[in-house]
């Protein structure tokens, strides 16, 4: 059955069949039993990009485009390593990065197949340039 963002939320209670962990474990198998058996491991407990894209669709259908955009960027960021996330955040802080450095991050995000976030970083770089918030 397909996905309808106007009626399938909450996914966890209405459409658990659509949700799985990064390794492909079904949502309904996220249980104490699978944890005891060792088939559920901590590193596998997180939302996938597909799930976040669906949540973005739910938000958009509910009339929340900015939240939807954010969740789409979040979906992209699932592929970005934890440490890199914090490095990008730091790079976006005022006066931390040159325009060149921010562009380098944008390119890396393109490499992680995160075009929306890459565009977001480029947009920030442009604004920072005009407001004197780029680093030396």
């Amino acid at each position: 059955m397909g996905f309808d963002p106007t009626i399938d939320y909450p996914l966890g209670s209405r459409r658990p069949d659509l949700v799985e962990t990064p390794s492909g474990l079904a949502l309904d198998d996220v249980t104490l039993e699978t944890a005891r058996a060792g088939t559920l491991v901590a590193a596998d407990i997180r939302a996938t990009a597909a799930t976040l894209v669906r949540q973005a669709a739910v938000a958009r259908a509910a009339g929340r485009p900015a939240l939807a955009d954010n969740l789409e960027r979040a979906a992209e960021l699932t592929c970005v390593p934890d440490d890199r996330l914090l490095e990008i955040y730091t790079a976006l802080r005022p006066g931390r990065s040159t325009a060149v450095a921010l562009e380098a991050w944008a390119r890396r995000l393109d490499g992680w197949e995160a075009p929306l976030t890459a565009a977001f970083v480029r947009e920030a770089a442009a604004a920072y340039g005009e407001r004197g918030l780029v680093g030396a």
Binding site: Y9, P10, L11, G12, S13, P16, V19, E20, T21, L27, V30, T31, L32, A35, R36, L40, V41, A42, I45, R46, A47, T51, L52, Q55, V58, A59, A62, G63, R64, P65, A66, L67, D69, N70, L71, R73, A74, A75, E76, L77, T78, V80, D82, L85, L86, Y89, L92, R93, P94, G95, T117, F120, V121, E123, A124, A127, Y128, E130, R131, L133
Partner: protein, 747 residues
């Protein structure tokens, strides 16, 4: 110097006067709303590009303006929305026939100046009504603060469990020492899921650590993302709208619910308000929050509340900022966490703005422990205030998110949580939690009652826990091994929520069955009376059943047993002795009811009255009036039977009147209405005075005390006693002569 007035001095000594009230100083941003330098709302669009907004040309846009025109404004809607007159929009906010979704749609096209201008047109009651209408989620909820000065894991777990059992939907902790974070997060997780499955938790710490806790499944939400209304303050806070928005997405990518933080007064406090009013700058903040894609905001001045309250209209401005956030379709955790005032009256007056309409989280942190242990510097309302909070909910029939729970259940759940965290610490090789800690956490008052821990060992263990990535799943398995299977399942349930990510939608909370209730699945559809969330049915039963509520039917039923006090001697007839003073008692006196409201035995009271009459040279005679329960008529009827024409009437609760036959029934010689204050000596004095009137002497009134609180304290008992006296009355029944049934020796 004016003349000194003792009344001014008394007022100056009150707690309120520890606070400074100041006149507005707009150039420093010390103006609550409608500041003289706030820009005129405007939006000029040319070729699909914003060329001017709120008094600035595009070339002069700061980072906030730039972010808003890129991510915040829907230019198609703006053409329609900005053209609406301010007053028309303001009236729509309070028009039940304009639904929330229409207002939210229009807000996507409004500039910050327009939003602030419109909100500024509403008076306090209109703001409350707008807030009620604009809240995102159908039902209000509340958030708790859970911290303690010793960072005691057992106490954190016990407080978290109690908070969850009391119905808080979210619990927030923090750390005094940053490295404690994993231990505090574990304690909160274990405690919360012991108290009620589904309660969300956070540990407010620096971003890197916070993200690590989230990735490991030890916390589920964060609200530490602060935004500000001027570029300079934003940059001084070491962020920009882009960095904060990115961080929000980063948290969401790890399955963390994110709520931003902002509030009136922060720009003035940080010295760069640029001459603008607090509400206008906050309008910029919440506009950025929405544009950044956050589902919600913690706002309502938060830590700057006392600064805003120093200004005229401060309380109103804070309510207006909550309204703006809700209008922008954001989840609102509406402050009321930092101490707003020394004065309980003043801070509660402020609270009502959010309490009565109901917000997504009425407080951004109700201190479930005594405020002394609140390391957020919060504790506007704390553990000691719980009964007041619950009573005010009951008074107004309003759900402000806290449930009454009795002592037995609270201690049970606290002990279980402390035991659970003890087991987890042992299983995970963390420094042991002793039995003494479990006991103190269960029944103690605050961290002062907790045994000291080896804090150096705790910090080392916390570092190691972070290093080896102790996860929520590890905690669940540890609990499972130690027999806390239900808590283990609840924690796995929270891990499952991180996979489905439903709680990333606006205003999400999770119920005990793991179902997510958010503005998507459970929206506020209020459109006037008969619609929306109303406190009724089972929930109303729950919220009115405070543990100390007394069953009215059980009150005033004391007595009725024991030896007879008086004996009936047949119908009472008019007397002839000019020294006679009738003591006329009510229908239930010394019969069905046996003591006064003050606990004086009716027999003792009669003896005191009779002795008083006799001491003053009168002759006392006892009569029961049976036809009425009203003290004036009891006394007046008695006077009609008295040889002197003077009688003292007394009701069962102890209220007495001295009457004379020739007066109108509702007139009297002396009324003694303060029955809770009377002693036997008082009744003796009343007897003396009654005899004095009978014998035509000069009589000074019996000195009486005044207790202005007697009514508040005793009106319920008074009502019940009077009801029983009234039930004992029988219309038309003749008066009866009485004698004391008690042996003379007792007299």
């Amino acid at each position: 110097m004016p003349e000194a007035s003792a009344r001014f001095a008394a007022r100056a000594a009150r707690e309120l006067r520890r606070e400074l009230l100041v006149t507005p100083l707009p150039e420093l941003g010390l103006v609550a709303m409608n500041g003289p330098a706030d820009p005129e709302p405007e939006l000029v669009v040319d070729g699909g590009r914003v060329v001017r907004m709120d008094g600035r040309d595009a070339a002069d846009f700061d980072v906030i303006d730039r972010f808003l025109v890129t991510h915040g404004l829907d230019l198609e809607i703006a053409a329609e929305a900005m053209a609406l007159p301010d007053l028309a929009l303001a009236r729509m906010l309070v028009d039940v026939d304009v639904p929330r979704f229409e207002l939210v749609r229009l807000a996507r096209g409004l500039t910050p100046a327009k939003l602030a201008r419109v909100a500024g047109l509403l008076d306090p009651v209109e703001l409350m009504f707008a807030l009620k209408k604009l809240r995102a989620r159908r039902a209000p909820a509340n958030q708790a603060h859970v911290t303690n000065l010793k960072e005691s894991p057992a106490l954190l777990a016990a407080d978290a469990a109690e908070a969850s059992a009391r119905g808080f939907a979210e619990l927030e902790t923090t750390v005094g020492v940053a490295r404690y974070a994993p231990l505090n997060a574990i304690s909160l997780l274990v405690g919360s899921q012991t108290g009620r499955p589904g309660v969300m938790t956070q540990c407010a710490v620096e971003e890197r650590r916070n993200l690590e806790l989230a990735i490991n499944g030890l916390v589920t939400y964060a609200e530490t993302l602060s935004v500000y209304g001027t570029e300079q303050v934003f940059v001084d806070g070491d962020d920009t709208p882009w960095s904060k928005s990115f961080l929000g997405a980063a948290y969401a990518s790890r399955g963390v619910k994110v709520r931003f933080t902002s509030g009136t007064g922060s720009e003035a406090l940080m010295g760069h308000a640029e001459g603008m009013s607090m509400l206008y700058l906050e309008s910029r903040c919440v506009s950025v929050v929405r544009a950044a894609g956050s589902q919600g905001v913690q706002n309502g001045s938060i830590s700057c509340v006392a600064l805003v309250l120093s200004l005229p209209g401060g309380t109103r401005a804070i309510l207006a900022e909550n309204v703006l956030a809700a209008w922008l379709d954001l989840e609102v955790a509406s402050g009321n966490d930092a101490i707003a005032s020394h004065s309980p009256i003043r801070k509660t007056a402020k609270l009502m703005g959010q309490f009565l309409p109901g917000t997504d989280f009425v407080t951004s942190g109700y201190s479930v422990m005594p405020r002394h242990d609140n390391t957020f510097g919060g504790g506007n309302y704390d553990a000691d205030d719980l009964d007041e909070w619950l009573t005010i909910q009951r008074d107004w029939q309003v759900d402000a998110g806290i449930e009454p729970v009795g002592e037995a259940e609270v201690t049970r759940v606290r002990r279980r949580a402390a035991r659970a965290v003890q087991a987890v610490f042992e299983e995970l090789g963390l420094p042991p939690v002793t039995d003494a800690e479990v006991e103190a956490a269960t029944t103690g008052y605050d961290a002062g009652d907790m045994p000291d821990r080896d804090r150096a060992a705790d910090v080392e263990a916390a570092d190691a826990a972070l290093e080896r990535k102790v996860s929520g799943l590890d905690v669940a398995l540890a609990l499972d091994r130690r027999g806390f299977e239900d808590v283990a399942r609840a924690i796995v349930g929270m891990q499952r929520q991180r996979v489905s990510a439903d709680y990333l939608q606006t205003s999400a909370v999770i119920d005990a069955e793991g179902i997510v209730h958010s503005a998507v699945s459970d929206p506020n559809l209020y459109t006037g009376p008969g619609t929306g969330y109303r406190l009724e049915g089972a929930r109303w039963e729950t919220l009115q059943a405070l543990p100390h509520v007394v069953d009215a039917a059980s009150l005033g039923t004391g007595g009725g047993a024991g030896a007879e006090i008086v004996a009936a001697q047949g119908e009472a007839l008019p007397g002839t002795d000019p020294a006679e003073v009738v003591i006329a008692v009510g229908p239930a006196f010394a019969g069905e009811i046996r003591e006064t409201i003050n606990g004086l035995d009716h027999g003792d009271v009669l003896i005191a009255l009779m002795e008083g009459v006799e001491e003053a040279g009168g002759v006392a005679r006892l009569v029961r009036i049976r036809r009425v329960a009203d003290v004036a008529f009891i006394a007046h009827d008695g006077a009609g039977l008295s040889g002197s024409g003077v009688a003292l009437g007394i009701q069962s609760k102890g209220t007495a009147v001295i009457h004379r036959a020739d007066l109108q029934p509702l007139d009297n010689l002396e009324l003694f209405g303060m029955s809770p204050l009377y002693s036997l000596e008082s009744y003796r004095a009343m007897g003396r005075n009654a005899a004095g009137y009978a014998l035509g002497r000069r009589v000074g009134p019996v000195p009486t005390e005044l207790d202005n609180f007697a009514r508040a304290k005793l009106i319920v008992r008074t009502t019940l006693l009077h009801a029983r006296e009234s039930r004992a009355a029988s219309r038309g029944a003749a008066p009866v002569e009485l004698s004391l049934a008690r042996p003379a020796a007792v007299r």
